[in-house]
């Protein structure tokens, strides 16, 4: 079976989870005590792990697995989040993202995760050590190793097909890191089989409540000698005894154990309680060795606990088979649930209940049973409820719909023309009705393509955090209007320019905490990212309360780089000066930073935004901060335009660039510096002839000129055309890949009569 068909779905969903993880880890950083968030994070990681394993991306799933280990400790309050852990988690997320994009590009998602995995490991291991230290003093006398019924039955069944060993291992008296040693022993054993019960219990091991003896029930295919050999290979193991367990042996132990329990219980009731509590906490990681075991009844528990040791978070198991692959010992999974059973139960009824459950589950598919399942369920539910409201649609299909609709739009225009010619009441009414309906459809089709800018914005908090950290600045990012919608095409393109502007604001706008303190500002800078819609435009603003743009500096640099002349420098408006930082090669940075120089690359930002039909403006006050406003069209596919005629040719001029239309006397044209100019609102602006711009044949030279005033930022110019046809919604079409970069033509549209009209690119006319 090919997994290709699922690949896209996988990538989409994985991205979502990753984003979710990023968001929540960020949130957690601000509220480290919020365990609900940890749960959320854990679930996402868990789901991601399962997905990746199913798809066979083992590196992805093993990394998420390690993350889970850490998260599990956190959510069980075994460790506190600290900045080291956050950094490691964020690093992990970055690596996951890299893997994912590799997969997206057709790769295998392989990556060297060993560093990060070992960092995660360190966290987990360190915790053990700490944990042990803290709890070391607690009482420890629950060492009686009990086999609960479940373990007992597992062992019993195993006897039929495999060998069961009762292993007694002694660790050197002088061993310093007993927990580590136990860990090594258990991992070695896990490679060869399954540990059903370990004494002392995992909890105790974890707390370093270990003496030198370790007792295990172990199921394996490997023979005794090999096991012995492997174990003895671990240093500081002084001796190992392996007994082969048979039914009789098992029976005896179980019975003994039960008796013992009863006694024990009575003896230690108060204590018992606390124990139970302990155990109920999900999983700990036992690693050190057993302390004393007065009685020799090693309980079979070992299995489940061990697992814990190794994996620390049984829940993960829940996922599917892949895990197994990863962990190589699928069988273990089957019993994780045991842990939940309070080990100490005295009463038979209690025991039997859990048992039943286990059994039935086991029989079915082992993988499904794990606890994790439980967790999972709520997770799924919540996802479902929200996802039921939406469906995923391939963007290509939407594009097709859009194309079809634009055909319809063209026909509509045609029909309207025809009906006005034919002038028949019922036809006109029908056409009018159709126009209204198609207008509504147009809105819906356009809306389908709209996405909240959130999808772009949500990567910024993380970026800002990292950047602020590396710059040693304190910044608060405040995002508003993330639900503002933009056409999908615009969304795809707008991310990079925004990243650039944000980096710029952080690097050059916001001062260091010390500088801020000096100038009487709060040490923490504020960075506002906001989006809102206004008419047919969407505005995205990036504003900070930093140092502002130093105009003199900008002018000096511009002069030095010969971007402007001395004369120009005298007459420039504030806005024009600010716009200088968008000039290619411009930088006010005193020293080059690897993050950005105000100006380095800003020309790219501007070009990009202009190519989207947008504008960018700067507002800045020295000492108070800077605001970049990016103005974007709502959509790139259908725009209102003014149709004009020159000679026999028709052109469409986007309405967004048109200030107004006017009629002008020929003699109003003045020649200044050899350029045709006209006076418009007390300013001289250049005037161009459409027929010259496009070499349009025709000799028509009337006394009155129809002119269109275009504007781009503060600049204006006028264009002379033969005739205005009128305003119309046009569907943008590309000229294809053969005709690219045609001067002052941004595309084409199809008119009601089926003819193609070219769309004027007003921006190209401004120099």
């Amino acid at each position: 079976m090919s997994s290709d068909q699922y690949l896209n779905m996988f990538i989409d969903e994985a991205k979502e989870h990753l984003q979710h993880l990023n968001d929540n880890v960020m949130k957690l950083e601000n509220a480290p005590e919020n365990l609900e968030l940890v749960q959320e994070i854990f679930r996402s990681a868990h789901t991601l792990k399962g997905m990746s394993a199913t798809m066979g991306f083992d590196d992805l799933s093993s990394l998420t697995h390690e993350m889970e280990n850490v998260l599990d400790l956190v959510r069980n309050s075994k460790i506190q989040m600290n900045s080291f852990i956050f950094d490691v988690l964020f690093n992990s997320l970055d690596i996951l993202e890299l893997m994912l994009s590799d997969i997206f590009e057709g790769g295998t998602g392989k990556a060297d995760v060993s560093d990060i995995v070992s960092a995660l490991h360190t966290i987990v291991v360190k915790n053990h050590e700490e944990g042990q230290n803290v709890e070391r003093n607690q009482e420890t006398d629950n060492t009686a190793a009990e086999l609960d019924e479940h373990q007992y039955s597992v062992l019993k069944r195993s006897l039929e097909s495999k060998q069961v060993f009762y292993i007694k291992i002694n660790i050197d008296e002088g061993c310093l890191l007993k927990v580590a040693r136990v860990f090594m022993v258990t991992s070695t054993l896990e490679k060869n089989g399954e540990i059903v019960k370990i004494t002392p219990s995992t909890d105790d091991i974890e707390q370093e409540l270990i003496n030198n003896e370790l007792l295990l029930y172990f199921i394996s295919d490997v023979d005794e000698e090999t096991l012995k050999h492997e174990i003895l290979n671990i240093s500081e193991i002084s001796s190992i005894e392996i007994d082969v367990v048979d039914h009789h042996f098992l029976e005896k132990h179980f019975v003994d154990m039960q008796q013992n329990r009863t006694e024990n219980e009575e003896r230690i009731k108060p204590k018992g309680q606390s124990d139970i509590e302990k155990r109920n906490e999900p999983e700990k990681q036992p690693e050190k060795q057993p302390e004393k075991q007065p009685e020799k009844q090693p309980e079979k528990h070992s299995k489940s606990e061990k697992q814990h040791v190794l994996e620390k978070q049984p829940e993960k198991h829940s996922k599917s088979e892949k895990q197994h692959v990863l962990e190589k010992q699928p069988e273990k999974h089957s019993e994780p649930e045991k842990q939940h059973e309070p080990k100490k139960l005295l009463k038979t009824e209690k025991q039997s209940e859990p048992k039943k459950k286990l059994k039935s589950e086991k029989q079915s598919e082992p993988e499904k049973k794990l606890k994790p399942k439980k967790q999972h369920v709520p997770d799924k539910k919540s996802v479902k409820t929200s996802s039921n409201r939406t469906i995923r649609v391939d963007i290509d299909k939407l594009d097709t719909l859009m194309n079809l609709f634009s055909e319809l739009l063209i026909d509509r225009v045609r029909l309207e023309a025809l009906s006005s010619e034919i002038n028949r009441m019922d036809l006109t009414e029908t056409v009018e009705h159709m126009s209204r309906v198609s207008g509504d459809i147009q809105n819906i089709v356009l809306n389908l393509r709209m996405m909240p800018v959130e999808s772009v914005f949500n990567r910024f908090p993380r970026m800002v955090r990292d950047l602020a950290k590396s710059l040693n600045k304190e910044v608060e990012l405040i995002i508003t209007g993330a639900d503002t919608e933009l056409d999908r095409n615009v969304i795809d393109e707008i991310g990079d320019p925004l990243v650039h502007l944000l980096r710029n604001a952080l690097d050059h706008g916001i001062e260091t905490p010390a500088e801020r303190a000096l100038s009487g500002k709060s040490e923490k800078g504020s960075l506002y990212l906001s989006a809102y819609q206004s008419g047919n435009q969407v505005f995205i603003e990036i504003e900070e309360d930093g140092r502002g743009i130093n105009k003199e500096k900008v002018i000096n640099i511009a002069l030095k780089k010969q971007i402007i002349s001395n004369e120009e420098a005298q007459t420039m408006s504030e806005e024009q000066i600010h716009q200088l930082i968008f000039s290619p090669g411009f930088s006010t940075a005193d020293k080059v930073s690897d993050i950005s120089g105000r100006g380095v690359g800003l020309d790219v930002v501007k070009t990009k935004i202009n190519s989207l039909g947008g504008e960018i403006q700067i507002d800045s006050k020295i000492g108070e901060g800077t605001k970049f406003s990016v103005q974007l069209p709502l959509t790139l596919s259908i725009i209102p335009a003014m149709l004009v005629k020159q000679g026999e040719e028709k052109y469409a001029i986007p309405l967004s660039s048109i200030l107004e239309t006017d009629i002008l006397q020929k003699q109003d044209i003045k020649i200044v510096h050899n350029i045709n100019m006209i006076e418009y609102r007390e300013k001289l602006i250049p005037i161009l002839f459409l027929k010259n711009i496009y070499d349009i044949p025709g000799t028509n030279d009337p006394a009155d000129y129809n002119i269109v005033i275009l504007q781009k930022g503060d600049d204006k110019l006028a264009i002379v055309v033969d005739e205005f046809i009128g305003q119309q919604e046009i569907v943008l079409k590309s000229l294809g890949n053969y005709l690219t970069n045609i001067f002052a033509i941004s595309g084409a549209t199809i008119l009601g009569d089926g003819q193609v009209a070219l769309i004027v690119d007003p921006n190209a006319l401004f120099k």
Binding site: N403, S406, E407, I410, E649, I675, P686, L688, N692, I693, Y694, D695, I696, K733, S734, L735, G736, N737, Y738, L739, T740, N741, I742, F743, A744, I745, A748, I750, G754, Q755, V756, A757, L758, L765, K767
Partner: protein, 153 residues
């Protein structure tokens, strides 16, 4: 016998030419063309092909031959290579021909005034005489669309 290749046969006047059928999308009658300014002469403009805007090239002009009047027989062959889709104006378009690849020979330096680089080879056929096979990749080479200097105010 080599493998059979399928070609669409057309003429630009006197000679017969062929393009591989795999590259041909449709063959259209002449239709209104919208001129695109600031493009080379051989780019006649763009047409509306059922909702798509497609550039049109006059093939004779493309080869530097003298252009001829368009007639009832004039056709636009819509071809596509990689991501480029273009219409070629030809004098007349005919059938699909199977040509044994063994019959295809390298093109001489110049065929009917067309440089060899635009040609994939020539095939000698019994009935139609010589068929000149076009190298579409070269014909649609964008590098030859000279960009005219920018408009000066």
């Amino acid at each position: 016998m080599g493998e059979d290749l399928k070609f669409i046969m057309f003429s630009l006047g006197h000679e017969s030419y062929g393009v591989e059928v795999d590259h041909v999308n449709t063959i259209e009658r002449m239709m209104p063309i919208t001129r695109v300014p600031k493009t080379p002469d051989f780019v006649k403009g763009v047409i509306n092909l059922r909702g798509s805007v497609i550039p049109i090239i006059d093939l004779r002009s493309r080869f530097g031959l003298e252009e001829t009047e368009y007639t009832e027989q004039t056709r636009i062959i819509i071809v596509s290579i990689k991501d480029i889709e273009v219409g070629l104006i030809v004098a007349e378009a005919n059938d699909v021909f199977d040509i044994d690849s063994d019959l295809i020979e390298p093109a001489p330096e110049l065929v009917g005034g067309i440089e060899a680089k635009y040609l994939q080879g020539i095939a000698k056929l019994d009935q139609q005489g010589v068929l000149v096979l076009l190298n579409l990749t070269e014909v649609l080479n964008k590098n030859e669309i000279v960009q005219l200097e920018e408009f000066e105010v």
